[in-house]
Symmetry: C2
Subunit: 345 residues, 2 copies
């Protein structure tokens, strides 16, 4: 609130009406004379009046702001989703507050408190952990919350996620179609929702295809970061008889694995290397070795999330709690670093 800024009081004075009338004009109330409306509008323009949303919020008990809780921001998935959410929400008069938890559950709790104090009208949360207990807050009783990307335990609410198992299974089908049987899995620590889902998709998918899972080919250590992908492919190649192909659980692992291949494998080894991975980002065209990718529908996730939230904000509680599961888009990369699709045993 800037000192000396023009308020409805100034406008009222200038237009020769009461502040109530100014407020009515500002809020497009019908019951106001055309003349006075015009006079008020003229005064608004002349004075360059700009509404004080804070005062309005205090009075009407609604801030028209939505808090977004993310585990991190430096992540293509979140930013793309946030961008889409922001677009839809802005078109409906809402502003967005964002806060990163830096992967720390305690920081998520602090950020939540901040948003509560700021009286956000709604919340979108990409959970940092599994735990959802802290969302059971009295102040949040009437605040719609939609969870994205991961599922929360102990807190029931609307959720928008990618169909992780479907994605992995489709990737698997592609590889199996090419004739692969010795299929490895490069993933992450199963305490993470997406890591677990993608792992389970792999296990189920292999089973459905009638293929044997070789424990030595399954890597589920680490946080699915770039270095983990590097290390895991390294470990795979330390084996006497490594897999002929790999399912990779996300983009970072994929970059890491590709880096290992480029730096440490012989060109003979690389010539038969085949990957299929989750995520499809802007640099996908330069990812050698990838035959298939499962690209998350980032834009749709954002739009869907915003629309569910908007619906709840309007008081529509139908289908609560609603879970929207979006299938990723399966891409067949017809350029694979020069390696033509072929059949392996």
């Amino acid at each position: 609130m800037r000192v000396g800024s023009v308020t409805i009081k100034d406008v009222a004075l200038k237009a020769g009406v009461s502040i109530a009338t100014v407020s009515r004009v500002l809020n497009n109330a019908e019951s106001v004379n055309d003349d006075t409306r015009a006079r008020v509008k003229a005064a608004v323009d002349e004075l360059g009046y700009q509404r004080n949303e804070v005062a309005r919020a205090l009075k009407v008990r609604a801030t028209r702001s939505i808090g977004i809780l993310a585990p991190e921001l430096t992540n293509f998935f979140f930013m793309a989703v946030v961008e889409a959410i922001g677009r839809v929400l802005a078109a409906n008069g809402y502003s967005i507050l964002v806060a990163s938890a830096d992967g720390l559950i305690d920081q998520e709790k602090i950020n939540l408190q901040t948003f509560i104090e700021r009286n956000v009208d709604g919340l979108i949360v990409a959970p940092t952990g599994f735990e959802g207990d802290h969302f059971h807050n009295r102040a949040l009783k009437n605040t719609p919350i939609v969870v994205i990307d991961r599922q929360l335990e102990g807190f029931e609410t609307d959720t928008v996620i990618t169909d992780n198992r479907y994605g992995i299974k489709e990737l698997l089908k592609g590889l199996a179609n090419e004739g692969h049987r010795r299929i490895g899995f490069i993933g992450g620590d199963l305490t993470f929702f997406t890591a677990k889902e993608r792992y389970l998709g792999f296990i189920d998918g292999m089973d459905e295809l009638g293929l044997e899972v070789d424990e030595a080919f399954v890597f589920t250590e680490g946080l699915m970061l770039q270095g983990d992908g590097y290390e895991q492919l390294k470990k795979a190649f330390e084996q006497a008889n490594p897999p002929t192909t790999y399912i990779i659980a996300n983009d970072s692992l994929h970059i890491g694995a590709t880096t290992f291949a480029l730096q440490n494998l012989t060109s003979a080894q690389r010539s038969t290397l085949v990957f299929a991975s989750f995520d499809h980002l802007s640099y996908a065209p330069i990812l050698r070795y990838a035959h298939y990718t499962a690209g998350q529908r980032l834009h749709e996730i954002g739009v869907e999330t915003a629309e569910i939230l908007l619906k709840r904000l309007k008081g529509d509680r139908s289908d609560f709690p609603q879970t929207v599961m979006l299938r990723p888009e399966i891409n067949v990369l017809d350029f694979n670093g020069g390696v033509p699709f072929s059949h392996y045993q």
Copy 2:
């Protein structure tokens, strides 16, 4: 503002003190008896009181919120910078509001209006265009604004940018050291700040090295998007005698150019291809052909920006308007898709 939430009034009642005393305890005023302080704190805990920041903001004329205006969110540069800014600001009690202009100058103006109405205490803007006239707003008179990434015309304020010319010149030196003389430039439309600066860095740098700029080797069309990089390298290779190496002005162009090379050049052609480019992102290790990259100091840009803003918010106007120019980090990629550094004529 949630109906029926607990206010300082409830706390006062419970603790048997006045609301002023509650407020004092909440704000850590010294002048309050230890006993009463304890009683108030107990009441706060029991009732689960949470401050209403909106009411506080209205009273003290400060929202402790900072608006971030970006041309887009789905961009590694902005994500990283926003994350760093958010961390520093959050540690100082500020929340951040973000809005993407979607590359539209009119949307940027709308977003600015929204932030003004929300009474943000400060503004960080990564301008969508050159034009800064709309920041001359009466309501913004006492609102610190720091501009990042690009410079604004017609509006003087604190600015944090990358030293684009330095970065390009260093890349050029690297290439010249390898013996290159026929150096191409893949950039973008000069109406963009970074496009122009990087282009000028190229022209100056070539001059300083005593090298001739061949107009046919300079590409400055488009918005520096992936497709542009693809097309520009394509055009270069349509020439009878293309450059032996290329300076590439950003990450998207780099991906595009690399894609063209992978898809359309012979392995003989690729074997001598050398790039040097601006930006150094997570997928840098898999960018073949790149000998040098100029990585922007994303984290530092964010921290520096937040700190200047914080300083202004404290009323410190020293060195205004301040321009911080951060030199990018020059990376020598010792793995280049197997191509050893060598000398070309």
